[in-house]
């Protein structure tokens, strides 16, 4: 076990709001440009993923994910905003964020 530990202040919010896959992100900063409240800031290093600096100000509009050309960015609701549903025919319960979720529904929206 690693004994070198750091003093880490509590994050301002109990959640991250946005996660970026560093392997898919090209550092184009489209997400940074469209965010209405500057949740994201460009990385000092060109080509590296932006920093999520103000997740507490996130409005969860999803414009960042809409404009990401590399499918690197995901916006997710925190646990205290996760909703469930019931399968009508079987009575089974499912929810956002469960372990072993059902397979994704890939039907696109209208337009």
């Amino acid at each position: 076990m690693e004994n070198k530990v750091y003093l880490v202040p509590n994050p301002s919010m109990p959640f991250q709001a946005i996660t970026i896959d560093p392997d898919l992100c090209t550092g184009c900063n489209s997400c940074v440009d469209v965010c209405r409240v500057d949740v994201l800031f460009p990385n000092k290093k060109k080509g590296k993923p932006p920093m999520v600096v103000y997740p507490d100000e996130c409005w969860f509009c999803g414009c960042c994910q809409l404009h990401c050309p590399s499918k690197a960015l995901r916006m997710e609701h925190p646990l205290n905003q996760r909703v469930g549903w019931k399968r009508k025919a079987t009575g089974e319960y499912f929810r956002i964020g469960m372990k072993n979720p059902p397979p994704p529904n890939t039907r696109p929206p209208v337009g």
Binding site: S12, M13, P14, A17, D33, V34, C35, R36, V37, D38, F41, P42, N43, K44, M51, Y54, D56, E57, C58, W59, F60, C61, G62, C63, Q65, L66, H67, M75, E76, H77, P78, N80, Q81, V83, G84, W85, K86, R87, K88, A89, F94, R95, I96, G97, M98, P101, P102, P103, P104, N105, T106, R107, P109, V110, G111
Partner: protein
């Protein structure tokens, strides 16, 4: 050295944008538009088409800013659409009967222009019709025009928008094509007036770039305010802010325009209106089982699958799903109060155990086209739905053909209007759009009481969604361009600019003190306590004393360590001003009002005849001046007595 620099030491992260607080940028335009949402974009586009040189100033990025930035699903008041059976006059009169403190002219203008505005947007590339024929055969789809209607398939007063999620980018492209100078990430901070005096003609505005900290002076012959209305005046939660926030409570809505107008001496009305909400403690908008608005008219069942019946506007039980989309006999469908709804005694029947919680939205039980319309067309194009609800829920395995989305569990009495987003918390109020919010007094030119200053969208009290914003925006754009074309050269008062620079940058000069978050939470607490559900003279006056004291103490010690924090601090000042305006308006209305959701302990009688009027407020010679306007002032002298005649005289078409 600030506390942050002391703690972080050599690990402090440098601000990633080039900062220049001392730089002053001067921009000259014929028309400057402050606020780049739907109203502002249409204003800028239409002013530019009239030959005006236009500058558009936006706190976020115009391509996605505003309430409709991430999408929009409904387009209201399409009286001029083929298939619509409601005249602009009838739609306006019905709306005013149901919402007596709306403005007739800011409803009538959308009734005349909302369909034209939509055709304009269609030319910009937004395909709002059912071009893929996905809904061929649906009762809400006109097979000739491929227009899809919402709510009422007889009167056809509202359109369902395919392509709504792409509306702002299309407007952004049009703005660029027309050569409008767009200033993204610039917050407008004050209006500039002739001679630097309040009450004088507006000659431009100041702004600050919230990434670089640079100052802007916009010199313009006409100014259009399209900054929406204030939100988050009563609610600031650091635990749950954005996810549940109503898609109408866009985070940049700090009441900046109202505050700027108040300082410049403009007249306002209906600022005393407010409503309790569940605020940031709601669940994701349109992401829970419900039966209203975007989800109209989804079947609702209880935990045992028992269906909750629907009634029409006269209380008659409806037997089929199809009937929910028909108007009650004799109704034109315009007022949501007369539309089909879940049984009005749902509260009692839940309390007695007849309907067992939790409730569910029975999408699988809906007809195929309505199901796809709700989950796919509406959820998918409405604001905050394409990614946060449609994409997230679908990739988590949700299938509307098989699954019933759970409704929020609330105390039984919270189900009075059917399943919602969370129980309203009485101290958490809002005076924002979607409600009869207060704003600038505007005339039939959408001119405020200050020469050279126009207001459209929510700011100009046209609150009926994107259609209202777009219609009044394009109208104000034409009017402002026309005025600019006829008006004389103006001079910016250098002393006024310097005073504003000193105000804007004061927080930047402080290394420590009070943070913006503490200030905002404190302002909200004052509103909750002193401007709450039940008001009275001594309590409102105590609230004003608190705000005055906060200005002298905490607010004069607030710091901003970077341009983003500066933005949040300046928004606190806008909110503080709006809070004071609301308290003054509340003191001035010495009667309770059902229509305004306004309760005074010291004046409990609701809407006595002598108070059936608009109460107006403005600053004059450093004092608050109270006035009044009759309920139908837009049809009284100096205006013509009919809507049609006024529109003909003023619309500039």
């Amino acid at each position: 050295m600030s506390k942050y620099e002391q703690t972080a030491g050599e690990n402090a992260i440098e601000w990633p944008y080039p900062v220049d607080y001392d730089k002053e940028n001067e921009v000259s335009a014929d028309v400057v538009v402050l606020g780049g949402g739907l109203a502002g974009c249409h204003a800028a586009i239409n002013a530019a088409r009239r030959g005006a040189k236009v500058a558009l100033v936006e706190k976020g990025a115009v391509i996605r800013s505003g309430q409709a930035g991430s999408g929009i699903d409904h387009w209201y008041f399409v009286c001029k659409a083929p298939g619509s059976k409601v005249s602009p006059e009838a739609a306006t009169e019905t709306t005013l009967k149901s919402e007596p403190f709306d403005f007739g002219h800011t409803v009538y203008i959308p009734c005349m222009e909302s369909y034209d505005a939509l055709l304009d947007i269609e030319k910009m590339g937004v395909e709002f019709r059912d071009v893929d024929d996905e809904f061929a055969g649906a009762p809400f789809r006109d097979d000739k025009t491929k227009i899809m209607f919402a709510y009422d398939y007889v009167n056809n007063h509202t359109i369902r928008l395919r392509g709504g999620a792409k509306m702002k980018p299309a407007l952004y492209n049009e703005l660029q094509r027309l050569g409008v100078a767009i200033y993204d990430h610039v917050m407008a901070t004050s209006l500039l007036t002739e001679g630097g005096k309040p009450g004088a003609r507006v000659v431009g505005a100041t702004g600050v770039n919230i990434r670089t900290g640079e100052f802007y002076v916009f010199k313009a012959k006409a100014t259009i305010l399209t900054t929406s209305v204030p939100a988050a005046l009563w609610i600031f939660s650091t635990e749950l802010s954005g996810a549940g926030a109503f898609c109408g409570a866009e985070p940049n809505m700090a009441g900046d325009g109202n505050a700027m107008g108040w300082q410049a001496g403009a007249e306002f009305t209906t600022m005393e209106y407010s409503q309790s909400t569940s605020g940031g403690f709601s669940y994701p908008n349109y992401g829970v089982g419900n039966a209203g608005n975007t989800w109209f008219a989804c079947s609702i069942v209880d935990a045992n699958g028992k269906e909750v019946p629907w009634v029409d506007g006269h209380g008659k039980i409806l037997k089929t799903v199809e009937e929910r989309y028909l108007p009650a006999p004799g109704d034109n469908g315009i007022s949501f109060r007369n539309r089909p709804r879940l049984i009005p005694d749902l509260v009692e029947r839940i309390s007695k155990g007849e309907f067992v919680l939790p409730l569910y939205a029975d999408l699988p039980g809906m007809p195929k086209h309505e199901r796809r319309a709700i989950w796919g067309l509406m959820v998918g194009n409405e604001g905050k739905t394409r990614i946060p609800v449609y994409d997230l829920y679908n990739r988590s395995g949700f299938d509307p053909d098989k699954d019933m989305l759970q409704a929020v569990v609330m105390p039984p009495d919270a189900y009075a209007m059917g399943p919602g987003y969370g129980p309203a918390v009485r101290q958490w109020r809002d005076s924002g759009p979607g409600f009869t919010a207060g704003g600038f007094v505007v005339d039939w030119d959408l001119n405020t009481t200050l020469e050279g200053l126009y207001a459209a969208g929510n700011t100009g009290r046209s609150r009926h969604g994107g259609a209202g914003a777009s219609s009044t925006g394009r109208y104000a754009g034409r009017k402002a361009a026309s005025y600019a074309g006829k008006s004389r050269q103006l001079v910016i008062d250098k002393k006024q600019v310097q005073a504003e620079k000193a105000r804007v940058y004061a927080p930047v000069k402080r290394k420590d003190g009070v943070g913006w978050r503490e200030l905002q939470a404190g302002l909200c607490r004052i509103m909750q306590d002193y401007c709450g559900e039940y008001k009275s003279k001594d309590v409102l006056e105590a609230g004003l004393r608190w705000f005055k004291s906060i200005r002298e103490s905490e607010a004069s010690r607030v710091y901003a360590r970077n341009p983003h924090e500066l933005k949040k601090v300046l928004e606190c000042f806008s909110r503080l001003t709006c809070g004071e305006m609301i308290m003054h308006a509340s003191l001035a209305r010495k009667a309770s009002s059902q229509a305004l959701n306004f309760n005074r302990i010291d004046y409990p009688e609701k809407d006595p005849p002598e108070w059936k009027k608009f109460v107006t407020i403005k600053q004059e010679s450093g004092k608050v001046k109270v006035g009044e306007l009759p309920m139908n002032f837009w049809l009284l002298p100096p205006y013509a007595p009919t809507y049609a005649e006024n529109y003909r005289l003023h619309c500039d078409l």
